[in-house]
């Protein structure tokens, strides 16, 4: 029994990590008032770039760095479209999703003449934390995890500190609630939102990178498979709060783990595996359909900001 629990916990942590990172990315963007449905595409470009850069340099850390840069690059047009050119933020996000998937699949084909990248040898390896990894049940899952997991935890805590403890974060949230009020207080709404969306790109891409050079070791068009949307759902489920999102992302990770482990532990006797596999997505739909806390959403989310109107 302990074994089963340890196993489920380990899988949960494994699958939560990219979700947590992408959700934190979404958090910055949406807290500033910009809907970020582009998380999916940003994860995709991150996964792709990480794989290619690691294959090219043999250093997965360079892969992570390259992924973050690619995320910033792909978030930029979303920022420009929705902030500067006042386009619809959802449409712009959808466009980024297509652009990212199209670009990466095309480049994989072009570079490797195949539907996927070759296997990445130099992936990030599990990093045990000496001592702690000996704790039964939680040791092997929490303290013998991939570096990306530790990064995700640190990023969550930092997100909290940045958003709730620093002037930058307070201004960012103010911009997402009442941009005009923020502007009258001398906050540059446009710059704030740009920054937030770019941070969002970097974090979501970092989450994607974990999929191709830590948990997995290649990139193909199914590497991300909707996890960006699940991360978005986790953000909403978590009421746009870093720890809420962390918890919700872990819960979604748990749903994935359950679906996977179900097959091993004979849960499929009772429920068919298809139903189990649907679990994370069903939860996502429930969350996105607004079953939880729409009232908690940043007040100005999705709204174009015009300087010359009241």
């Amino acid at each position: 029994m302990l074994d089963v629990m340890a196993n489920i916990l380990q899988t949960t942590v494994l699958y939560s990590t990219p979700l947590v990172l992408a959700a934190m990315g979404g958090l910055f963007s949406e807290r500033s008032g910009v809907v970020n449905i582009a998380l999916e595409g940003l994860m995709t470009i991150g996964a792709f770039t990480a794989a290619v850069a690691t294959l090219a340099t043999g250093n997965p850390w360079l892969g992570l760095a390259a992924a973050m840069l690619s995320g910033v690059a792909f978030a930029w047009p979303h920022a420009a479209a929705s902030i500067r050119f006042k386009a619809d933020q959802v449409v712009s996000g959808v466009a980024i999703n297509f652009l990212a998937l199209g670009t990466s699949v095309y480049l994989v084909k072009h570079l490797y003449d195949s539907g996927q990248t070759p296997t990445v040898q130099e992936t990030l390896k599990r990093m045990p934390i000496p001592g702690l990894d000996q704790i039964p049940v939680i040791g092997p899952s929490l303290f013998n995890a991939f570096p990306t997991t530790y990064i995700a935890l640190v990023v969550s805590i930092l997100s909290y500190i940045v958003l709730y403890r620093t002037p930058f974060g307070m201004r960012l949230r103010a911009v997402g609630e009442h941009p005009r009020a923020a502007e009258t207080m001398g906050v540059n709404v446009v710059r704030m939102r740009y920054t937030a969306v770019l941070i969002s790109g970097a974090l979501a891409a970092l989450g994607g990178a974990g999929l191709s050079i830590a948990i997995g070791s290649e990139f193909n068009q199914n590497t991300v498979a909707g996890q960006g949307f699940i991360a978005l759902a986790a953000l909403i489920f978590g009421k746009w709060h870093p720890f809420g999102a962390l918890g919700a992302a872990s819960f979604f990770g748990f749903a994935v783990a359950l679906a996977l482990m179900g097959q091993f532990f004979g849960l499929t006797q009772y429920v068919s595996s298809e139903v189990l596999n649907m679990l994370p997505y069903v939860l996502t739909i429930l969350a996105l359909a607004g079953f939880v806390g729409r009232a908690e959403a940043p007040a100005a989310i999705g709204k174009v900001y015009e300087t010359d109107s009241r």
Binding site: I161, T166, R173, A174, H178, A182, G186, S309, R310
Partner: protein
């Protein structure tokens, strides 16, 4: 020396010239009143001075030097602070957070909460602006929100302060406090530009007044050499009567009956405690009281916007206590809400649409499940004319209207529905004297048509002028009933403060 000079300022909006070659020059260290009808262009002019709008033409001089005010940051750097007509507050944030936003004290990169709260407390004590630094904006009263707005500019140490109708939302006591604060500020060498529709306030503390009408400067004059009457006609362009002509009331059957009503406020504290109230057809009942004594909660409960905790509310003898706001409106309750922007209008809808918010699905505005826009706009056109709402046309978004004209639009809609019970919460807040005269006449007209009117106002003047009976609220109950013919401001004030008064009229 001129602290501020604006020369030949022109600002156009689609369909309207809001400022047309406006001149304004404000002396260092004075309180300068800016007076003008609703929609005259006062807020626009001040938003230009604060850098929120860019003028199409004209020049600005600050302390005699030409400047380009490109944004609020630039304005702040030039020592200009503004208290806006409509709150610029981040609702989920605390009082302190709103005040320090953009100028946060930090220690080691993080916001220094304790220092911030201490500083806010210090300024708020220094100027007598009572606030709770740790409360969230959405939980505090309108009056306190206004004080937060004022604190925001003081925190930044502005030299020239623009107050855009700060007194419109304050109670008489709070206005007295504010006047003192303003006098203190001027004593410290600050300069104040003060927008208000209340001529009394201008006479009381201003040095100079500039009058604007329909976007043009009419003139500037020293307050000493003028009178309220003169200012009023200068501003409206005709004689204005300050008194209301009304006959003796002939009350009929009871329209509204409130029985041992208890209502809780947003924090779960009992704001209305076992209150009884009756309003009859053909009378205006004035509800007086210091802001925060449960008036808002009472009106919200009657209109269904807030759940009654205990007790009953009867309209024409039928219980409406647990009905939805929509059903209550349908049964003949009209409501001019206290907060016009949040509860009265959908700001991003056209005036036409706003005028049918309750009736859009009835003939002639709908046919089957389709809206008939020509009818909707024709209806709006008529109301705009009847109530003199100043707007380019009926398709303009409510957001673009000046504050007073938004208010007029709501009043037009509610009065036109001809409800059995009209609840008017601060109906003339933010209106110019001409418009007030007009609205007062309409309220009395409703009464004379045999409707019941419940008037909540923080202005004792208004209560005394319009009411047939006055109910004073204190601590969530009716502290006493007074007869407007025999009572006076002092007596009402005493009851409002929780005191006792000998002569009271029996209820009913």
């Amino acid at each position: 020396m001129n602290a501020v000079e604006m020369r030949g300022i022109t600002k156009r909006f689609p369909g309207i010239v809001a400022n047309d070659q406006v001149h304004l020059s404000v002396n260092q260290g004075e309180i300068h009143a800016l007076l003008g009808e609703n929609g005259a262009g006062k807020s626009t002019l001040m938003n230009i001075l604060f850098g929120l709008y860019q003028p199409d033409e004209g020049e600005i001089f600050i302390r005699e030097k030409p400047v380009k005010i490109t944004g609020p940051t630039k304005a702040a750097a030039l020592g200009i602070g503004m208290v806006h007509q409509h709150f610029m507050l981040v609702e989920p944030f605390t009082v302190t957070e709103n005040i320090i936003l953009g100028a946060e004290p930090t220690s080691r990169g993080c916001i220094d909460r304790h220092r911030a709260e201490r500083e806010v407390r210090e300024i708020s004590e220094k100027y007598g602006l009572r606030v709770d630094p740790t409360a969230r904006i959405r939980d505090i009263s309108v009056g306190m929100q206004q004080r937060v707005e004022i604190l925001k500019t003081l925190y930044r140490g502005a030299e020239v302060l623009i107050f855009d109708e700060p007194t419109a939302v304050l109670s008489p006591q709070e206005i007295d406090e504010l006047m003192e604060i303003m006098e203190n500020l001027v004593r410290e060498g600050k300069t104040i530009i003060f927008i208000t529709h209340k001529l009394k306030e201008i006479m009381r503390i201003c040095d100079t007044v500039t009058v604007i009408r329909r976007g043009k400067t009419i003139g500037s004059t020293s307050v000493k050499g003028t009178s309220e009457q003169e200012l009023a006609s200068m501003m409206v362009g005709r004689e204005v009567s300050f008194s209301v002509n009304k006959q003796e009331s002939r009350p009929g059957k009871t329209v509204l009956k409130v029985q041992s009503l208890t209502v809780k406020d947003s924090r779960g504290v009992e704001a209305v405690r076992g209150l009884d109230l009756e309003v009859r057809a053909g009378e205006i009942v004035g509800l007086a009281g210091v802001d925060g004594n449960g008036q808002s909660e009472l009106l919200e409960a009657i209109t269904g916007l807030r759940k009654a905790h205990a007790g009953d509310i009867l309209l024409n003898g039928e219980a409406i206590t647990r009905l939805q706001p929509r059903a209550i409106a349908r049964r003949g309750v009209g409501h001019i809400p206290e907060d016009r922007q949040k509860r009265g209008l959908v700001l991003d809808f056209s005036i036409g649409e706003n005028m049918v918010l309750q009736t859009y699905d009835q003939t002639p505005f709908a046919k089957g499940f389709l809206l008939r826009y020509p009818e909707i706009f024709r209806h709006a056109k008529r109301l705009i004319e009847d109530f003199d709402v100043r707007t380019p046309d009926e398709q303009t978004h409510a957001r673009a209207l000046s504050g007073g004209n938004q208010q007029k639009a709501i009043i037009a809609r509610e009065v036109d529905r001809d409800p059995d019970l009209l609840i008017a919460a601060q109906p003339t807040r933010g209106l110019d004297v001409g418009a007030i005269e007009f609205i007062h006449r309409r309220l009395v007209e409703q009464r004379d048509k045999g409707k019941a009117v419940l008037l909540m106002s923080l202005e004792l003047d208004e209560i005394l002028k319009l009411s047939d009976r006055i109910a004073v609220m204190y601590g969530g109950r009716i502290a006493g009933w007074l007869n407007p013919k025999t009572t006076n401001e002092e007596e009402i004030g005493l009851l409002m403060a929780g005191g006792k008064v000998g002569e009271e009229v029996a209820q009913g």
